[in-house]
Amino acid sequence: MDQLKLTRRQMLRMMLAGGSVAALAACGTSPAAPTAPTDAPAAPAAATGAPAQVSQTGSTVTITYWGSFSGNLGEAEQAMVQRFNESQSDIVVDYQFQGSYEETAQKYTAGLQANTIPDLILLSDVWWFGFYVAGAISELDGLAQQAGLDFSDYEPVLLNEGNRQGKQFWIPFARSTPLFYYNKDLWAEAGLPDRAPETWAEFGEWAPQLLQREGNTLRRSAFVHPDGASYIAWLFQGVTWQHGGKYSNDDFTMTMTDPNTIRAAQFYQDTVRDLGWATLGQDINRDFLGGAAAAMMASTGSLAGLTTNATFPVGVGFLPKEANFGCCTGGAGLAIPSGIPDEKKLAAMTYIAFATNTEQAGAWARDTGYMPVRISTKQTPDMVAFFEENPNFKTAVDQLPLTRAQDAARVFVRNGDQIIGKGLERIIVNGEGPATVFADIDAELTRAAEPILEDLREVEG
């Protein structure tokens, strides 16, 4: 390129070439969003020592399974699939990582248009309902019966969420709840008792001792909130209940302007702006592990990853109370697309039955920190021993009976999670008044709920 003399024609040609490069660049793959917890290698998942059973070698059914786990969660999921494939010879599960929960749902939506869908799919709490309303996932009761799956042993609070009009559409698998995490070293340094605060008022008293300031900069905050993209609206759900508020009623009427809901938002704003002991971070696990925040609320699904990667002892506790206790469930479950052959549906259900049986549900919970979805899992010797070794995990499981399903506004309204999350960002980051912002959010949620209600009337009458 040591001579560059341009004529007008060459100029235009170069521009065309450059333009198409830009166009190509624009349609490059979207970067994988930094998915949940930590990406460090986890402890090796349970050894797969069991010899493969040699059974009748008929025709093998291969099913494709789309999931959202990477890092140590991904390894645990791969191990689960491998155990299944080695346990029998009729079905081969092909696990395919799709990105975050959102990206998995995006790809499924695109797949429905293009008619290339998986046979089994992991859908998060905010996504399965949309696909149910669109008729894109199968009713599972008949299949469960064929596969010999008994729903009565599942944790009712988790199972019932995937049930519409007495029919099961979504089976709990990687279910979690928020949990209060704290850095025991910093707690000791501040001379605090080794436990999570019982109320927010108590934490408010502790917080100043946990802070570290340098001039006007907060070097270490007592607490960190995630941003909208990292599901602040999920963690705030419990906080609204604690204040006596809620996002919406069951009939999809919004209650964002309820004085108690607004009070909860005011509290969130104060923690960052007036009281100044909390920050809003893009990656709360990173802040917590790096010592930039002394405490946080985060998913139980992060428990294994955080415990492995922290350079300090990690403490956990129930969420703090305000007027009352409030904690919601979350995470993801398994669904089977409609519009695939029955044979594949049954194969997918066979995998679900395996992955959520008493033993495997325990192995998955121990590998990750997600809740054991089966009641009987808690009594297995492996689990009892694990609880003894990991009291933190016992705490997470003990909190489960106190939790309940989230409000419709977040989980059933398309994008409701992000609408509320952006609203909270306006309140916390921009410092706008909670009443004004939540009035906007109430209207936006109401508008977003309209098409869902319309479809729901058609589906459920």
Partner: protein, 291 residues
């Protein structure tokens, strides 16, 4: 007979490209026009025709105008800084310096890196508590702003990363342009008694005008499509401080699943880029000195 053969050859040569353009460019363009007039969430079987409802909805949202403003700021500063700093660096690297080739390679390397990777690395550099910038500012007794968490600083941060990533490309194009300016012009200028400043102003700059023009057109088009860095670095936030039109399109289409409103944004983007390109070709190019 001969004419027919030529036509056949013409069709053969043009055909494959025309087919690809048709399928991947023109058809989506037309289909997008259609989508901007319907209400559809990608999942429902029916698309309801709503005339201009999507347009009214998009234009009446207060945040739309903030987003347009964000886009203008992002494009203006990204392109302006890339062109100016790129020119300065190209002039410097055109001097017979030691390690010149090494410096050129280092400068160009961010161009070939993935935008997502660049953004992840910079998110650590920007961290106000343990980031590199904070450490450097600490040396002179300053505190780092909360780059990615403060609505006032997030856009400057995104622009910095974008310029850093794309600077090398501008420099290489400028360098090629500089080497294309005939030696004789400088010699003649020198004979006429022109100093370094005059030589720059009257020989280098006009000589560079075609490549500067080329860079300005392509960079502007590219900034309007810049997505990866914003997605990973700030995800359009905090709130909507770094949401540009292309990001808004993604947000509406693939996060909110509102195909119609996303279609409207695509049309707006298309119109803006078309108008900008026409203006640039019509007016700016008159001032370009082609050899």
């Amino acid at each position: 007979m001969r004419e027919r053969r030529e036509w056949l050859l013409f069709a053969l040569l043009i055909g494959p490209n025309l087919f690809l353009f048709g399928v991947f460019t023109y058809w989506p363009l037309l289909y997008n026009f259609y989508l901007s007039f319907v209400s559809w969430n990608f999942l429902r079987p029916r698309k309801r025709f709503v005339w201009f409802e999507n347009y009214v909805d998009v234009f009446s949202q207060a945040q739309f105008w903030t987003i347009v403003w964000n886009t203008v700021i992002f494009a203006l500063f990204s392109v302006g800084l890339t062109l100016l700093i790129g020119l300065a660096l190209a002039l410097l690297l055109n001097q017979p310096l030691r390690y010149r080739n090494g410096a050129r390679a280092v400068l160009f390397s961010p161009v070939i890196m993935s935008g997502a990777v660049v953004a992840v690395v910079w998110s650590y550099i920007f961290d106000p508590r343990y980031g590199l910038i904070d450490q450097l500012l600490g040396l002179i007794g300053l505190n780092s702003p909360n780059w990615l968490g403060d609505p006032a600083w997030a856009m400057p941060a995104v622009i910095m990363v974008y310029v850093w990533k794309n600077l090398g490309y501008a420099v290489v194009i400028y360098l090629a342009g500089l080497q294309g300016i005939p030696r004789e012009l400088y010699d003649a200028a020198r004979v006429d008694g022109a100093g370094p400043w005059d030589r720059f102003w009257h020989v280098t700059l006009p000589g560079l005008s075609p490549v500067a023009f080329f860079l300005s057109v392509t960079s502007i088009l590219a900034t309007f499509q810049a997505f990866d860095i914003i997605k990973v670095l700030t995800n359009g936030g905090p709130v909507i401080a770094t949401t540009t039109l292309i990001f808004h399109l993604y947000d509406l289409g693939f996060v909110s699943y509102n195909a119609g409103e996303a279609g409207v944004i695509a049309i707006v983007l298309f119109a803006i880029m078309l108008i900008l390109t026409i203006i640039q070709l019509r007016y700016l190019e008159q001032r370009v000195a082609y050899s």
